[in-house]
Protein backbone atom coordinates (compact mmCIF):
# COMPACT_ATOMS: atom_id res chain seq x y z
CA UNK A 1 0.00 0.00 0.00
CA UNK A 2 1.32 3.38 -0.92
CA UNK A 3 1.57 6.08 1.66
CA UNK A 4 -1.26 8.47 0.92
CA UNK A 5 -0.83 10.56 4.00
CA UNK A 6 1.29 13.33 2.48
CA UNK A 7 -1.33 13.76 -0.23
CA UNK A 8 -4.10 13.97 2.33
CA UNK A 9 -2.14 16.48 4.37
CA UNK A 10 -1.46 18.62 1.32
CA UNK A 11 -5.09 18.59 0.27
CA UNK A 12 -6.10 19.42 3.81
CA UNK A 13 -3.70 22.35 4.03
CA UNK A 14 -4.80 23.65 0.66
CA UNK A 15 -8.47 23.40 1.58
CA UNK A 16 -7.82 25.07 4.88
CA UNK A 17 -5.92 27.90 3.26
CA UNK A 18 -8.75 28.56 0.85
CA UNK A 19 -11.50 28.12 3.40
CA UNK A 20 -11.80 31.76 4.50
CA UNK A 21 -12.45 32.82 0.92
CA UNK A 22 -15.44 30.53 0.62
CA UNK A 23 -16.92 30.31 4.07
CA UNK A 24 -18.93 32.91 5.88
CA UNK A 25 -17.69 34.66 8.98
CA UNK A 26 -19.32 32.15 11.26
CA UNK A 27 -17.63 29.11 9.78
CA UNK A 28 -14.37 30.98 9.60
CA UNK A 29 -14.73 31.70 13.28
CA UNK A 30 -15.46 28.05 13.93
CA UNK A 31 -12.21 27.27 12.16
CA UNK A 32 -10.51 29.89 14.30
CA UNK A 33 -11.67 28.15 17.39
CA UNK A 34 -10.55 24.84 15.99
CA UNK A 35 -7.16 26.38 15.29
CA UNK A 36 -6.85 27.79 18.76
CA UNK A 37 -7.71 24.46 20.31
CA UNK A 38 -5.38 22.72 17.92
CA UNK A 39 -2.57 24.87 19.29
CA UNK A 40 -3.67 24.16 22.83
CA UNK A 41 -4.01 20.47 22.03
CA UNK A 42 -0.54 20.38 20.51
CA UNK A 43 0.90 22.03 23.58
CA UNK A 44 -0.86 19.56 25.87
CA UNK A 45 0.25 16.76 23.59
CA UNK A 46 3.84 17.37 24.65
CA UNK A 47 2.89 16.70 28.25
CA UNK A 48 0.10 14.17 27.92
CA UNK A 49 0.86 12.51 24.62
CA UNK A 50 4.63 12.42 24.60
CA UNK A 51 5.61 12.42 28.24
CA UNK A 52 2.51 10.46 29.29
CA UNK A 53 1.75 12.72 32.25
CA UNK A 54 -1.94 12.82 33.15
CA UNK A 55 -2.34 16.56 33.09
CA UNK A 56 -5.89 17.82 33.17
CA UNK A 57 -5.14 21.36 34.25
CA UNK A 58 -3.84 22.88 31.07
CA UNK A 59 -6.44 25.64 31.15
CA UNK A 60 -4.53 27.11 34.09
CA UNK A 61 -1.55 27.94 31.88
CA UNK A 62 -3.83 29.11 29.10
CA UNK A 63 -5.46 31.45 31.60
CA UNK A 64 -2.14 32.77 32.83
CA UNK A 65 -1.13 33.69 29.32
CA UNK A 66 -4.45 35.33 28.55
CA UNK A 67 -4.49 37.30 31.78
CA UNK A 68 -0.89 38.40 31.39
CA UNK A 69 -1.75 39.81 28.01
CA UNK A 70 -4.98 41.36 29.19
CA UNK A 71 -3.57 43.00 32.29
CA UNK A 72 -0.51 44.47 30.64
CA UNK A 73 -2.30 45.51 27.50
CA UNK A 74 -5.09 47.30 29.34
CA UNK A 75 -2.81 48.95 31.90
CA UNK A 76 0.15 49.92 29.72
CA UNK A 77 -1.28 49.82 26.20
CA UNK A 78 1.53 47.62 24.96
CA UNK A 79 0.43 46.11 21.63
CA UNK A 80 -1.14 42.73 22.15
CA UNK A 81 1.05 40.62 19.95
CA UNK A 82 4.22 41.98 21.50
CA UNK A 83 3.03 40.44 24.71
CA UNK A 84 2.97 36.96 23.27
CA UNK A 85 6.47 35.99 24.39
CA UNK A 86 5.83 37.46 27.81
CA UNK A 87 2.55 35.53 28.14
CA UNK A 88 4.38 32.35 27.28
CA UNK A 89 7.13 33.18 29.72
CA UNK A 90 4.77 33.84 32.61
CA UNK A 91 2.93 30.58 32.03
CA UNK A 92 6.23 28.75 31.64
CA UNK A 93 7.68 30.10 34.85
CA UNK A 94 4.45 29.32 36.66
CA UNK A 95 4.64 25.77 35.33
CA UNK A 96 8.21 25.47 36.51
CA UNK A 97 7.30 26.54 40.02
CA UNK A 98 4.06 24.60 40.28
CA UNK A 99 5.13 21.40 38.63
CA UNK A 100 8.30 20.84 40.60
CA UNK A 101 6.70 19.53 43.81
CA UNK A 102 3.98 17.52 42.07
CA UNK A 103 5.87 16.01 39.19
CA UNK A 104 6.68 12.81 41.03
CA UNK A 105 3.01 11.99 41.56
CA UNK A 106 1.80 9.06 39.54
CA UNK A 107 -1.09 8.74 37.12
CA UNK A 108 -4.37 9.58 38.70
CA UNK A 109 -2.84 11.42 41.60
CA UNK A 110 -1.23 13.82 39.19
CA UNK A 111 -4.55 14.06 37.37
CA UNK A 112 -6.47 15.26 40.39
CA UNK A 113 -3.71 17.64 41.43
CA UNK A 114 -3.73 19.28 38.01
CA UNK A 115 -7.52 19.51 38.15
CA UNK A 116 -7.07 21.16 41.52
CA UNK A 117 -4.57 23.50 39.96
CA UNK A 118 -6.97 24.76 37.34
CA UNK A 119 -9.67 25.23 39.98
CA UNK A 120 -7.33 27.13 42.25
CA UNK A 121 -6.34 29.42 39.38
CA UNK A 122 -9.96 29.99 38.40
CA UNK A 123 -11.01 30.74 41.97
CA UNK A 124 -8.07 33.08 42.37
CA UNK A 125 -9.11 34.91 39.20
CA UNK A 126 -12.72 35.15 40.35
CA UNK A 127 -11.65 36.49 43.72
CA UNK A 128 -9.62 39.17 42.00
CA UNK A 129 -6.32 37.97 43.34
CA UNK A 130 -3.81 40.82 43.87
CA UNK A 131 -6.59 43.13 42.70
CA UNK A 132 -5.54 42.85 39.07
CA UNK A 133 -7.72 40.17 37.51
CA UNK A 134 -10.98 42.06 37.60
CA UNK A 135 -12.76 39.32 39.54
CA UNK A 136 -15.63 37.60 37.86
CA UNK A 137 -16.05 40.48 35.42
CA UNK A 138 -12.75 39.59 33.95
CA UNK A 139 -10.83 42.10 31.92
CA UNK A 140 -12.32 43.93 28.99
CA UNK A 141 -11.19 46.42 26.45
CA UNK A 142 -8.17 44.46 25.28
CA UNK A 143 -7.00 46.10 22.11
CA UNK A 144 -7.08 44.42 18.74
CA UNK A 145 -3.80 43.01 17.58
CA UNK A 146 -1.83 44.62 14.80
CA UNK A 147 0.60 42.91 12.51
CA UNK A 148 2.88 45.04 10.33
CA UNK A 149 0.48 47.93 10.72
CA UNK A 150 -2.51 45.86 9.74
CA UNK A 151 -5.29 45.80 12.28
CA UNK A 152 -6.69 42.34 12.87
CA UNK A 153 -10.40 42.48 13.59
CA UNK A 154 -12.47 40.25 11.33
CA UNK A 155 -12.63 36.46 11.68
CA UNK A 156 -10.88 36.12 8.30
CA UNK A 157 -7.97 38.13 9.66
CA UNK A 158 -7.80 36.09 12.79
CA UNK A 159 -7.92 32.97 10.69
CA UNK A 160 -4.52 33.72 9.25
CA UNK A 161 -3.09 34.79 12.57
CA UNK A 162 -4.30 31.66 14.37
CA UNK A 163 -3.58 29.14 11.67
CA UNK A 164 -0.31 30.86 10.93
CA UNK A 165 0.68 30.36 14.53
CA UNK A 166 -0.66 26.83 14.39
CA UNK A 167 1.51 26.15 11.36
CA UNK A 168 4.58 27.49 13.15
CA UNK A 169 3.65 25.32 16.12
CA UNK A 170 3.35 22.23 13.97
CA UNK A 171 6.64 23.01 12.28
CA UNK A 172 8.52 23.50 15.54
CA UNK A 173 6.83 20.70 17.43
CA UNK A 174 7.42 18.26 14.63
CA UNK A 175 11.11 19.00 14.90
CA UNK A 176 10.93 18.81 18.65
CA UNK A 177 9.27 15.41 18.51
CA UNK A 178 11.97 14.11 16.24
CA UNK A 179 14.78 15.21 18.46
CA UNK A 180 16.63 14.08 21.50
CA UNK A 181 14.04 15.89 23.60
CA UNK A 182 11.03 14.25 21.98
CA UNK A 183 12.57 10.84 22.27
CA UNK A 184 13.43 11.42 25.92
CA UNK A 185 9.77 12.15 26.66
CA UNK A 186 8.73 8.95 24.93
CA UNK A 187 11.29 6.96 26.87
CA UNK A 188 10.00 8.14 30.18
CA UNK A 189 6.42 7.57 29.08
CA UNK A 190 7.19 3.98 28.11
CA UNK A 191 9.18 3.09 31.21
CA UNK A 192 10.64 5.72 33.45
CA UNK A 193 12.83 3.31 35.38
CA UNK A 194 14.46 2.12 32.19
CA UNK A 195 14.76 5.71 30.99
CA UNK A 196 16.48 6.76 34.17
CA UNK A 197 18.68 3.67 33.90
CA UNK A 198 19.65 4.75 30.40
CA UNK A 199 20.94 8.01 31.76
CA UNK A 200 17.92 10.23 31.23
CA UNK A 201 17.09 12.69 33.95
CA UNK A 202 13.42 11.84 34.04
CA UNK A 203 12.37 14.42 36.62
CA UNK A 204 14.05 17.11 34.57
CA UNK A 205 12.33 16.08 31.36
CA UNK A 206 8.92 15.84 32.96
CA UNK A 207 9.41 19.35 34.21
CA UNK A 208 10.62 20.66 30.86
CA UNK A 209 7.68 19.00 29.13
CA UNK A 210 5.40 20.88 31.48
CA UNK A 211 7.21 24.12 30.83
CA UNK A 212 7.19 23.81 27.04
CA UNK A 213 3.50 22.90 27.06
CA UNK A 214 2.72 25.77 29.40
CA UNK A 215 4.67 28.31 27.34
CA UNK A 216 2.65 27.39 24.29
CA UNK A 217 -0.63 27.41 26.16
CA UNK A 218 0.32 30.84 27.47
CA UNK A 219 0.91 32.08 23.95
CA UNK A 220 -2.40 30.61 22.86
CA UNK A 221 -3.92 32.53 25.75
CA UNK A 222 -2.45 35.68 24.26
CA UNK A 223 -4.20 35.03 20.96
CA UNK A 224 -7.42 34.20 22.75
CA UNK A 225 -7.32 37.47 24.67
CA UNK A 226 -6.64 39.38 21.47
CA UNK A 227 -9.47 37.67 19.65
CA UNK A 228 -12.08 38.02 22.37
CA UNK A 229 -11.02 41.46 23.65
CA UNK A 230 -12.64 40.40 26.92
CA UNK A 231 -11.63 37.51 29.11
CA UNK A 232 -13.33 36.16 32.17
CA UNK A 233 -12.46 33.38 34.62
CA UNK A 234 -15.23 31.16 33.29
CA UNK A 235 -13.37 30.83 30.00
CA UNK A 236 -10.69 28.86 31.82
CA UNK A 237 -12.67 26.45 33.91
CA UNK A 238 -12.11 22.78 34.39
CA UNK A 239 -14.22 22.00 31.35
CA UNK A 240 -11.72 23.78 29.09
CA UNK A 241 -9.01 21.49 30.41
CA UNK A 242 -11.23 18.51 29.76
CA UNK A 243 -11.74 19.63 26.18
CA UNK A 244 -8.00 19.85 25.60
CA UNK A 245 -7.51 16.48 27.25
CA UNK A 246 -10.12 14.91 25.01
CA UNK A 247 -8.64 16.49 21.89
CA UNK A 248 -5.32 14.80 22.53
CA UNK A 249 -6.75 11.42 23.47
CA UNK A 250 -9.40 11.27 20.79
CA UNK A 251 -7.06 12.34 18.03
CA UNK A 252 -4.19 10.14 19.07
CA UNK A 253 -1.66 10.60 21.82
CA UNK A 254 1.62 11.87 20.52
CA UNK A 255 0.43 12.47 16.98
CA UNK A 256 0.39 15.95 15.49
CA UNK A 257 -2.14 15.16 12.73
CA UNK A 258 -4.15 13.29 15.34
CA UNK A 259 -4.33 16.25 17.67
CA UNK A 260 -5.38 18.57 14.86
CA UNK A 261 -8.07 16.13 13.82
CA UNK A 262 -9.07 15.88 17.48
CA UNK A 263 -9.50 19.64 17.60
CA UNK A 264 -11.71 19.49 14.51
CA UNK A 265 -13.84 16.81 16.07
CA UNK A 266 -14.14 18.10 19.62
CA UNK A 267 -14.55 21.77 18.75
CA UNK A 268 -16.05 21.43 15.30
CA UNK A 269 -18.55 18.60 15.70
CA UNK A 270 -20.80 20.38 18.22
CA UNK A 271 -21.10 23.19 15.68
CA UNK A 272 -22.16 20.73 13.01
CA UNK A 273 -24.74 19.32 15.38
CA UNK A 274 -26.42 22.67 15.86
CA UNK A 275 -29.42 21.41 14.00
CA UNK A 276 -30.00 19.06 16.91
CA UNK A 277 -30.35 22.20 19.05
CA UNK A 278 -30.48 21.21 22.69
CA UNK A 279 -29.68 17.59 21.90
CA UNK A 280 -26.41 18.44 20.22
CA UNK A 281 -24.21 17.71 23.19
CA UNK A 282 -26.06 14.44 23.77
CA UNK A 283 -25.23 13.31 20.27
CA UNK A 284 -21.69 14.52 20.73
CA UNK A 285 -21.24 12.49 23.92
CA UNK A 286 -22.53 9.35 22.28
CA UNK A 287 -20.25 9.84 19.30
CA UNK A 288 -17.25 10.24 21.56
CA UNK A 289 -17.95 6.88 23.16
CA UNK A 290 -18.41 5.28 19.78
CA UNK A 291 -15.24 6.77 18.34
CA UNK A 292 -13.20 5.50 21.25
CA UNK A 293 -14.63 2.02 20.88
CA UNK A 294 -13.85 1.87 17.18
CA UNK A 295 -10.44 3.49 17.40
CA UNK A 296 -9.20 2.67 20.86
CA UNK A 297 -5.79 4.24 20.38
CA UNK A 298 -7.20 7.45 19.02
CA UNK A 299 -8.22 8.14 15.47
CA UNK A 300 -4.79 8.92 14.06
CA UNK A 301 -2.24 7.34 16.37
CA UNK A 302 1.35 8.44 15.87
CA UNK A 303 3.52 6.68 13.39
CA UNK A 304 6.98 5.53 14.32
CA UNK A 305 9.79 7.97 13.68
CA UNK A 306 11.90 7.10 10.73
CA UNK A 307 15.63 7.34 10.62
CA UNK A 308 17.84 7.41 7.56
CA UNK A 309 18.42 3.84 6.55
CA UNK A 310 22.16 3.37 6.54
CA UNK A 311 24.90 5.34 8.16
CA UNK A 312 24.58 8.33 5.90
CA UNK A 313 25.24 11.97 6.36
CA UNK A 314 22.49 14.53 6.66
CA UNK A 315 20.86 13.80 9.96
CA UNK A 316 17.28 14.07 11.03
CA UNK A 317 14.45 13.21 8.74
CA UNK A 318 12.12 14.90 6.39
CA UNK A 319 8.78 16.04 7.72
Amino acid sequence: MKDVRPVIYAVFCGALLLAPFFLNAYWVDVLNNVGLYAILGLSLNIILGHAGLFHMGHAAFYAMGAYTTAIINTSYQIPVLWLMPLSGLVAGVAALVIARPIIHLRGDYLLIVTIGLVEIVRIALINNVFGITGGSNGIFGISRPELFGFRIRRPEHFFFLIWGFAAITVFLFHRLENSRFGRALNYLREDDVAAEGSGINTAHYKLIAFVVGAVWAGMAGNIFAAKMTIIAPESFNFWESVIMFMIVLLGGRGSIPGVILGAFLIVGLPELFRQFATARMLVFGAIMVAMMIFRTEGILPPRPRRYPAAVADGGGDGP
Binding site: Y109, V113, I120, I123, F238, L249, G285, M292, T296
Partner: protein
Protein backbone atom coordinates in the same frame (compact mmCIF):
# COMPACT_ATOMS: atom_id res chain seq x y z
CA UNK B 1 -15.73 25.76 70.26
CA UNK B 2 -19.43 25.69 69.57
CA UNK B 3 -18.79 27.04 66.14
CA UNK B 4 -16.15 24.42 65.59
CA UNK B 5 -18.45 21.57 66.54
CA UNK B 6 -21.23 23.03 64.47
CA UNK B 7 -18.94 23.25 61.46
CA UNK B 8 -17.73 19.74 62.12
CA UNK B 9 -21.25 18.37 61.78
CA UNK B 10 -21.80 20.52 58.71
CA UNK B 11 -18.67 19.08 57.19
CA UNK B 12 -19.47 15.50 58.12
CA UNK B 13 -22.91 15.71 56.53
CA UNK B 14 -21.50 16.91 53.21
CA UNK B 15 -18.56 14.59 53.54
CA UNK B 16 -20.70 11.54 54.06
CA UNK B 17 -22.32 12.17 50.70
CA UNK B 18 -18.95 12.66 49.04
CA UNK B 19 -17.87 9.42 50.66
CA UNK B 20 -20.83 7.47 49.29
CA UNK B 21 -20.10 8.68 45.79
CA UNK B 22 -16.37 8.21 46.23
CA UNK B 23 -16.97 4.53 46.96
CA UNK B 24 -18.20 4.07 43.42
CA UNK B 25 -15.09 5.68 41.97
CA UNK B 26 -12.79 3.72 44.15
CA UNK B 27 -14.44 0.34 43.61
CA UNK B 28 -14.39 0.69 39.85
CA UNK B 29 -10.87 1.97 39.96
CA UNK B 30 -9.82 -0.88 42.19
CA UNK B 31 -10.92 -3.53 39.74
CA UNK B 32 -10.50 -1.80 36.37
CA UNK B 33 -7.98 0.99 37.08
CA UNK B 34 -10.49 3.20 35.32
CA UNK B 35 -11.66 6.60 36.48
CA UNK B 36 -15.33 6.41 35.74
CA UNK B 37 -15.92 10.05 34.89
CA UNK B 38 -19.59 9.30 34.32
CA UNK B 39 -20.04 8.24 37.93
CA UNK B 40 -21.06 11.71 39.05
CA UNK B 41 -23.78 11.66 36.44
CA UNK B 42 -25.03 8.32 37.70
CA UNK B 43 -25.40 10.09 41.02
CA UNK B 44 -27.45 12.82 39.33
CA UNK B 45 -29.55 10.19 37.62
CA UNK B 46 -30.25 8.73 41.04
CA UNK B 47 -31.47 12.09 42.24
CA UNK B 48 -33.79 12.51 39.26
CA UNK B 49 -35.09 8.97 39.31
CA UNK B 50 -35.86 9.35 43.00
CA UNK B 51 -37.96 12.39 42.23
CA UNK B 52 -39.79 10.67 39.40
CA UNK B 53 -40.58 7.63 41.49
CA UNK B 54 -41.68 9.76 44.38
CA UNK B 55 -44.07 11.86 42.35
CA UNK B 56 -45.41 9.21 39.99
CA UNK B 57 -46.14 6.59 42.59
CA UNK B 58 -47.22 9.03 45.28
CA UNK B 59 -45.48 6.85 47.80
CA UNK B 60 -46.01 9.25 50.66
CA UNK B 61 -49.74 8.58 50.53
CA UNK B 62 -49.28 5.00 51.59
CA UNK B 63 -46.16 4.98 53.66
CA UNK B 64 -44.64 6.84 56.57
CA UNK B 65 -41.51 8.90 56.05
CA UNK B 66 -39.15 6.05 56.84
CA UNK B 67 -41.09 3.72 54.63
CA UNK B 68 -40.96 6.14 51.72
CA UNK B 69 -37.26 6.62 52.11
CA UNK B 70 -36.53 2.93 52.28
CA UNK B 71 -38.73 1.92 49.36
CA UNK B 72 -37.39 4.79 47.32
CA UNK B 73 -33.80 3.96 48.18
CA UNK B 74 -34.25 0.36 47.12
CA UNK B 75 -35.86 1.32 43.83
CA UNK B 76 -33.32 4.00 43.01
CA UNK B 77 -30.44 1.72 43.86
CA UNK B 78 -31.84 -0.95 41.62
CA UNK B 79 -32.44 1.34 38.67
CA UNK B 80 -29.16 3.21 38.84
CA UNK B 81 -27.33 -0.09 39.24
CA UNK B 82 -28.85 -1.22 35.96
CA UNK B 83 -27.77 2.01 34.28
CA UNK B 84 -24.28 1.46 35.66
CA UNK B 85 -24.14 -2.09 34.38
CA UNK B 86 -25.31 -1.02 30.94
CA UNK B 87 -22.71 1.72 30.91
CA UNK B 88 -20.01 -0.81 31.67
CA UNK B 89 -21.21 -3.14 28.97
CA UNK B 90 -21.53 -0.50 26.28
CA UNK B 91 -18.83 2.05 26.95
CA UNK B 92 -16.12 0.28 28.95
CA UNK B 93 -16.03 -3.42 28.21
CA UNK B 94 -14.97 -2.95 24.57
CA UNK B 95 -12.07 -0.87 25.85
CA UNK B 96 -10.86 -3.21 28.53
CA UNK B 97 -7.71 -4.22 26.67
CA UNK B 98 -6.99 -0.70 25.47
CA UNK B 99 -4.82 1.95 27.06
CA UNK B 100 -6.36 3.29 30.26
CA UNK B 101 -6.68 6.77 28.84
CA UNK B 102 -8.84 5.58 25.99
CA UNK B 103 -11.42 4.42 28.47
CA UNK B 104 -11.20 7.80 30.15
CA UNK B 105 -12.35 9.50 26.96
CA UNK B 106 -15.18 7.04 26.66
CA UNK B 107 -16.12 7.84 30.24
CA UNK B 108 -16.12 11.55 29.52
CA UNK B 109 -18.29 11.00 26.48
CA UNK B 110 -20.70 8.99 28.60
CA UNK B 111 -20.73 11.77 31.15
CA UNK B 112 -21.63 14.37 28.53
CA UNK B 113 -24.29 12.03 27.21
CA UNK B 114 -25.90 11.42 30.59
CA UNK B 115 -25.83 15.05 31.59
CA UNK B 116 -27.55 16.17 28.43
CA UNK B 117 -29.96 13.26 28.52
CA UNK B 118 -31.07 14.45 31.94
CA UNK B 119 -31.50 17.96 30.62
CA UNK B 120 -33.58 16.77 27.70
CA UNK B 121 -35.76 14.48 29.74
CA UNK B 122 -36.28 16.65 32.78
CA UNK B 123 -35.63 20.11 31.47
CA UNK B 124 -32.93 22.53 32.44
CA UNK B 125 -34.69 24.09 35.39
CA UNK B 126 -34.05 23.12 38.96
CA UNK B 127 -36.16 20.23 40.06
CA UNK B 128 -37.46 20.19 43.56
CA UNK B 129 -38.35 17.33 45.86
CA UNK B 130 -41.60 17.65 47.80
CA UNK B 131 -41.05 19.16 51.20
CA UNK B 132 -43.25 16.98 53.28
CA UNK B 133 -41.32 13.73 53.05
CA UNK B 134 -38.94 14.08 55.93
CA UNK B 135 -39.49 15.61 59.34
CA UNK B 136 -38.08 19.08 59.73
CA UNK B 137 -37.36 19.18 63.44
CA UNK B 138 -33.97 19.38 65.00
CA UNK B 139 -32.52 17.37 67.82
CA UNK B 140 -30.42 18.89 70.52
CA UNK B 141 -27.16 17.13 71.18
CA UNK B 142 -24.72 18.43 73.75
CA UNK B 143 -26.23 21.83 73.78
CA UNK B 144 -26.50 22.57 70.08
CA UNK B 145 -29.13 21.74 67.61
CA UNK B 146 -28.70 19.50 64.66
CA UNK B 147 -31.45 19.06 62.12
CA UNK B 148 -32.80 15.55 62.31
CA UNK B 149 -32.49 15.10 58.58
CA UNK B 150 -28.82 15.82 58.65
CA UNK B 151 -28.34 13.23 61.32
CA UNK B 152 -30.31 10.85 59.16
CA UNK B 153 -28.11 11.56 56.16
CA UNK B 154 -25.01 10.97 58.19
CA UNK B 155 -26.41 7.84 59.71
CA UNK B 156 -27.62 6.38 56.45
CA UNK B 157 -24.32 6.96 54.70
CA UNK B 158 -22.36 5.50 57.58
CA UNK B 159 -24.71 2.54 57.61
CA UNK B 160 -24.27 2.04 53.87
CA UNK B 161 -20.55 2.27 54.18
CA UNK B 162 -20.42 -0.20 57.02
CA UNK B 163 -22.65 -2.55 55.08
CA UNK B 164 -20.45 -2.26 52.03
CA UNK B 165 -17.36 -2.74 54.11
CA UNK B 166 -18.77 -5.89 55.66
CA UNK B 167 -19.92 -7.11 52.28
CA UNK B 168 -16.48 -6.61 50.80
CA UNK B 169 -14.65 -8.03 53.78
CA UNK B 170 -16.82 -10.90 54.83
CA UNK B 171 -18.67 -12.35 51.90
CA UNK B 172 -17.46 -14.66 49.23
CA UNK B 173 -18.26 -12.21 46.45
CA UNK B 174 -16.65 -9.41 48.39
CA UNK B 175 -13.47 -11.39 48.67
CA UNK B 176 -13.68 -12.14 44.96
CA UNK B 177 -13.94 -8.41 44.26
CA UNK B 178 -10.89 -7.73 46.35
CA UNK B 179 -9.05 -10.55 44.66
CA UNK B 180 -9.91 -9.27 41.20
CA UNK B 181 -8.73 -5.82 42.25
CA UNK B 182 -5.36 -7.19 43.28
CA UNK B 183 -4.68 -9.54 40.39
CA UNK B 184 -7.22 -10.33 37.71
CA UNK B 185 -5.33 -13.22 36.24
CA UNK B 186 -4.80 -14.89 39.58
CA UNK B 187 -8.48 -14.31 40.32
CA UNK B 188 -9.39 -16.13 37.13
CA UNK B 189 -7.19 -19.02 38.21
CA UNK B 190 -9.25 -19.23 41.37
CA UNK B 191 -12.30 -19.81 39.23
CA UNK B 192 -13.60 -16.29 39.70
CA UNK B 193 -15.61 -14.97 36.78
CA UNK B 194 -13.90 -11.62 36.51
CA UNK B 195 -16.44 -10.26 34.04
CA UNK B 196 -19.14 -10.98 36.55
CA UNK B 197 -17.14 -9.34 39.33
CA UNK B 198 -16.74 -6.22 37.23
CA UNK B 199 -20.45 -6.26 36.54
CA UNK B 200 -21.14 -6.50 40.26
CA UNK B 201 -18.83 -3.60 40.94
CA UNK B 202 -20.72 -1.63 38.32
CA UNK B 203 -23.93 -2.51 40.08
CA UNK B 204 -22.82 -1.63 43.59
CA UNK B 205 -20.90 1.57 42.85
CA UNK B 206 -23.69 3.21 40.86
CA UNK B 207 -26.26 1.96 43.36
CA UNK B 208 -24.42 3.79 46.12
CA UNK B 209 -23.99 6.84 43.91
CA UNK B 210 -27.69 6.71 43.09
CA UNK B 211 -28.71 6.52 46.67
CA UNK B 212 -26.42 9.45 47.41
CA UNK B 213 -28.28 11.35 44.72
CA UNK B 214 -31.56 10.42 46.34
CA UNK B 215 -30.27 11.62 49.68
CA UNK B 216 -29.15 14.93 48.22
CA UNK B 217 -32.61 15.28 46.72
CA UNK B 218 -34.39 14.45 49.91
CA UNK B 219 -32.13 16.48 52.14
CA UNK B 220 -31.43 19.58 50.10
CA UNK B 221 -34.57 19.45 48.03
CA UNK B 222 -33.06 21.00 44.94
CA UNK B 223 -31.46 19.08 42.11
CA UNK B 224 -30.21 20.09 38.69
CA UNK B 225 -28.79 18.31 35.73
CA UNK B 226 -25.26 19.65 36.17
CA UNK B 227 -24.95 18.52 39.77
CA UNK B 228 -23.12 15.37 38.76
CA UNK B 229 -20.00 17.23 37.71
CA UNK B 230 -19.55 19.08 40.94
CA UNK B 231 -20.29 16.18 43.22
CA UNK B 232 -18.40 13.84 40.97
CA UNK B 233 -15.30 15.99 41.06
CA UNK B 234 -15.49 16.34 44.82
CA UNK B 235 -16.02 12.64 45.31
CA UNK B 236 -13.18 11.79 42.97
CA UNK B 237 -11.01 14.14 44.98
CA UNK B 238 -12.12 12.34 48.11
CA UNK B 239 -11.27 8.97 46.62
CA UNK B 240 -7.80 10.17 45.68
CA UNK B 241 -7.33 11.79 49.06
CA UNK B 242 -8.06 8.49 50.76
CA UNK B 243 -5.96 6.56 48.28
CA UNK B 244 -7.79 5.42 45.19
CA UNK B 245 -8.76 1.79 45.05
CA UNK B 246 -9.01 1.62 48.81
CA UNK B 247 -12.54 1.34 50.19
CA UNK B 248 -11.98 2.60 53.74
CA UNK B 249 -9.84 5.28 52.11
CA UNK B 250 -12.81 6.56 50.14
CA UNK B 251 -14.86 6.82 53.31
CA UNK B 252 -12.13 8.61 55.23
CA UNK B 253 -11.33 10.79 52.24
CA UNK B 254 -14.97 11.78 51.77
CA UNK B 255 -15.58 12.68 55.38
CA UNK B 256 -12.27 14.47 55.62
CA UNK B 257 -12.93 16.44 52.47
CA UNK B 258 -16.28 17.58 53.82
CA UNK B 259 -14.68 18.67 57.07
CA UNK B 260 -11.82 20.46 55.30
CA UNK B 261 -14.37 22.35 53.22
CA UNK B 262 -16.42 23.36 56.22
CA UNK B 263 -13.37 24.38 58.21
CA UNK B 264 -11.90 26.27 55.28
CA UNK B 265 -15.16 28.16 54.91
CA UNK B 266 -15.42 28.74 58.64
CA UNK B 267 -11.94 29.89 59.47
CA UNK B 268 -10.31 31.08 56.30
CA UNK B 269 -12.56 32.22 53.49
CA UNK B 270 -15.84 31.16 52.04
CA UNK B 271 -15.04 32.36 48.56
CA UNK B 272 -11.74 30.51 48.55
CA UNK B 273 -13.25 27.38 50.07
CA UNK B 274 -12.75 25.10 47.08
CA UNK B 275 -9.29 26.47 46.41
CA UNK B 276 -8.33 25.80 50.01
CA UNK B 277 -9.65 22.28 49.69
CA UNK B 278 -7.52 21.62 46.67
CA UNK B 279 -4.49 23.18 48.29
CA UNK B 280 -4.88 20.89 51.28
CA UNK B 281 -5.28 17.97 48.90
CA UNK B 282 -2.10 18.88 47.03
CA UNK B 283 -0.22 19.35 50.27
CA UNK B 284 -1.35 15.94 51.49
CA UNK B 285 -0.40 14.28 48.23
CA UNK B 286 3.03 15.89 48.23
CA UNK B 287 3.66 14.35 51.63
CA UNK B 288 1.84 11.08 50.93
CA UNK B 289 1.91 10.54 47.18
CA UNK B 290 -0.59 7.69 47.26
CA UNK B 291 -3.20 9.24 49.48
CA UNK B 292 -3.93 8.71 53.13
CA UNK B 293 -4.64 4.99 53.11
CA UNK B 294 -3.20 4.12 49.73
CA UNK B 295 -0.45 1.58 49.66
CA UNK B 296 3.01 2.75 49.04
CA UNK B 297 4.12 0.62 46.18
CA UNK B 298 7.87 0.31 46.04
CA UNK B 299 9.17 0.37 42.54
CA UNK B 300 10.32 -3.07 41.64
CA UNK B 301 13.35 -2.87 39.43
Amino acid sequence: MDLFLQQLTNGLAVGSIYALIALGYTMVYGVLKLINFAHGDLFAIGAYLGLTLLTTFGLSQYLGPMGVVIVLAVMVMGLVAVVGAVLERVAYRPLRQAHRLSAVVSAMGASIFFQNALMLVYGARYKVYPHDILPKNAVSIMGFEIPLVRLLVLLTSVLMMVALYLFIQKTRIGTAIRAAAIDQRAAKLMGINVDRVIMIVFLIGPALGGVAGLMVGLYYGQINFTMGWMYGLKAFTAAILGGIGNIPGAMVGGLLLGVIEAMGAAYISIAWKDAITFMVLIAILIVRPTGLLGERVADKV
